[in-house]
């Protein structure tokens, strides 16, 4: 049943995205898989009256599949540099690629400025006199990542 709920959410996701891609991708995706998933789950619960362990098993499977997919999703939305490197190096086999060939590929496909503009549009970064700084929302967004890396013992600025 967990697989079924996930399959329904995934089918709706593919159909919706092929017809109309929402502006706030991640919010739409989270709503579809978690709110939509919860609605389907409760509908099934009313119909089948699952025991607590069975209901937990269904919810856990749907959550695991959804978390895995949602984490992978940004890579398909904005072509990741690692994906670009691997797919083009594969195409170049058996001759391989030089450093300059790979660099030129990354230069043309992904500009740094685009990322900064994305962050400003999302309200995470703002222009100030001396340069760019974090907005309140930006600080709230990045702090969990900073604490997470501190807990792992990774020195700041490394990586």
């Amino acid at each position: 049943m967990g697989l079924g709920i996930f399959a329904i959410c995934m089918t709706l996701h593919v159909l919706l995205w092929r017809i109309y891609q929402p502006k706030r991708h991640l919010v739409a995706l989270l709503s579809l898989f978690f709110l939509g998933g919860a609605v389907l789950f409760f509908a099934l619960q009313i119909f089948f009256k699952l025991s607590f362990p069975d209901a937990l098993a269904v919810a856990l499977l749907h959550t695991a599949l959804s978390c895995g997919y949602i984490q992978l999703y940004p890579a398909s939305q904005a072509q990741s540099p690692s994906v670009t490197i691997l797919t083009t190096v594969k195409k170049s086999m058996p001759h391989g690629m030089t450093e300059n060939e790979i660099r030129s590929l990354l230069n043309t496909e992904m500009t740094f400025q685009d990322r900064v503009e994305d962050l400003m549009a999302a309200g995470l970064v703002q222009h100030e006199k001396k340069g760019l700084s974090l907005t309140k929302r930006g600080r709230g967004f990045i702090l969990p990542f900073i604490y997470y890396r501190r807990m792992l013992g990774i020195p700041e600025g490394k990586g």
């Binding site: 092929r18 499977l61 984490q71 700084s133 990586g159």
Partner: protein, 175 residues
């Protein structure tokens, strides 16, 4: 608590176990002066250890007491949940390690303010290139011979191929 419930709770808590193991393997890497190795390698070790530990505990708590088809279904269920949750944990960590938007925000947080030129110097195409190449070399997915890069492993390439394919299904990319 019923054994089935214990098994489900164990699976649900698997990302937490991996996080705790990751704290240990990350510090071990630092103590052994392996800082130059990609931090992703210590994450892979933590996830691998976590999966083995959870598999053993699951067997003792619940799976070992089942028979025949019931056991196979329960093992497949657990494997699916564990693969997806550990995959999600790995991607979350990789995101803090290399995603450009996250790196830019981290750097601004650390320094207070930064000019676009400063950031471009640190996270522009040069850094973009070296971080990704070092990581792919450390994970044995590519190799460098006579100043040329070649594909070595097929694991990450398979993921990259699937990601490109999925990108076309969702109409993000036409290539």
């Amino acid at each position: 608590m019923q054994p089935q419930l214990q098994y489900l709770v164990l699976l649900a808590l698997s990302p937490l176990f991996m996080f705790l193991l990751h704290m240990a393997t990350g510090r071990l890497y630092m103590a052994l002066k392996l800082e130059k190795a990609s931090p992703l390698v210590s994450a892979i070790w933590a996830i691998g250890l976590g999966v083995v530990l959870i598999a053993v505990l699951s067997w003792r708590l619940f799976l070992g007491s089942l028979n025949g088809g019931e056991q196979i279904v329960a093992i497949l269920y657990g494997a699916l949940v564990l693969i997806f949750l550990s995959g999600a944990y790995y991607i979350l960590f990789a995101m803090t390690e290399a995603a450009r938007r996250i790196k830019i925000l981290q750097e601004i947080y650390r320094k207070g303010q930064m000019t676009a030129e400063e950031m471009n110097r640190i996270y522009g195409s040069d850094s973009l290139f070296s971080i990704r190449i070092e990581r792919l070399l450390a994970l044995n997915q590519i190799e460098k011979k006579d100043d040329r890069y070649y594909l070595k492993g097929n694991g990450l390439y398979a993921v990259a191929f699937l990601v490109s394919f999925w990108s076309r299904i969702l109409k993000f990319s036409k290539n």
